[in-house]
């Protein structure tokens, strides 16, 4: 996982698999970065996620709530077909800007 902050915008490049087993560690790292950088926009880049189940939805919902406290926004980018399908099923487009990958 790589993190890049340019003032207002915090980008987190997620890597590997996102399931229940790994979600806790990922969540804690993202929350630490949110607390530190206080962004007005968090971009989660799923480009290098090789597997995701509904634990990924839990992760997005939790970060959305966390960001909302400071009025910050959330964006999900580079979603592959499977991840996009799960995000749509969960109605995540109501919480975040969603962008499919190339």
């Amino acid at each position: 996982m790589r993190i890049n902050s340019t003032g207002e915008v915090l980008t987190v490049y997620l890597t590997g698999e996102l399931d229940h087993h790994l979600a806790k560690g990922i969540r804690e790292e993202i929350d630490k970065a949110i607390d530190y950088y206080m962004p007005s926009l968090l971009i989660l880049d799923f480009g290098e996620i090789t597997f995701m189940d509904s634990s990924g939805i839990g992760l997005v919902m939790g970060r959305y709530k966390n960001l909302k406290k400071n009025g910050a926004k959330l964006s999900l980018i580079n979603l592959n077909d499977n991840i996009y399908k799960i995000m749509k099923l969960a109605g995540m487009e109501r919480l975040a800007e969603i962008e499919k990958g190339a």
Binding site: E17, D19, H20, H21, A23, K24, R27, F51, M52, D53, S54, S55, I57, G58, L59, M61, G62, K65, D81, N82, K85, I86, L89, A90
Partner: protein
């Protein structure tokens, strides 16, 4: 052709979620599934096994039994069973967004399984355990041509 099948018993450790889904996906490759079908199978198995880890055995490590079978007509049958605490109200548990798993769980496990598999059957007895049986017909690539 004789039907092919396997049974697997694993402890409910979260690190086994990935082992379980990859194993079932590998077994299914004989049906020549598309990448999307493989992904659907992996995701559904991951949801069911995660349910065992989070809900069936919340404070202990128990056994999860996974059995797979290839049925006639290119159908994959997956059965995931635990001997955990059971589900009080299965219909309620299957409702989207219902969860007893706390803030970080979306409550969409069964909804995801239902959307990705053809059929999902859940039977449960309080104190005895839960069985999730899923079936998916794998498309024949020759048909699509």
């Amino acid at each position: 052709m004789d039907t092919n099948k396997f049974t697997l018993k694993i402890p409910s450790r979260s690190c086994n979620e990935s082992f379980a889904r990859v194993t079932v996906a590998a077994f299914a490759t004989v049906l020549d599934p598309t990448l999307e079908e493989i992904s659907d199978i992996k995701t559904s198995v991951s949801e069911a096994v995660t349910n065992c880890n989070v809900h069936a055995y919340p404070n202990s490590i128990g056994d999860i039994y996974i059995s797979c079978e290839i049925l006639k007509g290119n159908v994959l049958k997956i059965k995931i069973r635990d001997k955990g605490c059971g589900i009080e109200d299965v219909d309620k548990a299957r409702q989207p967004l219902f969860t007893t798993g706390g803030e970080e769980r979306a409550g969409l496990g069964f909804a995801v399984m239902e959307s990705m598999m053809d059929t999902v059957r859940v039977t449960s007895k309080c104190g005895k355990g839960t069985t999730v049986t899923m079936k998916k017909k794998i498309s024949c690539k020759d048909d699509a041509r």
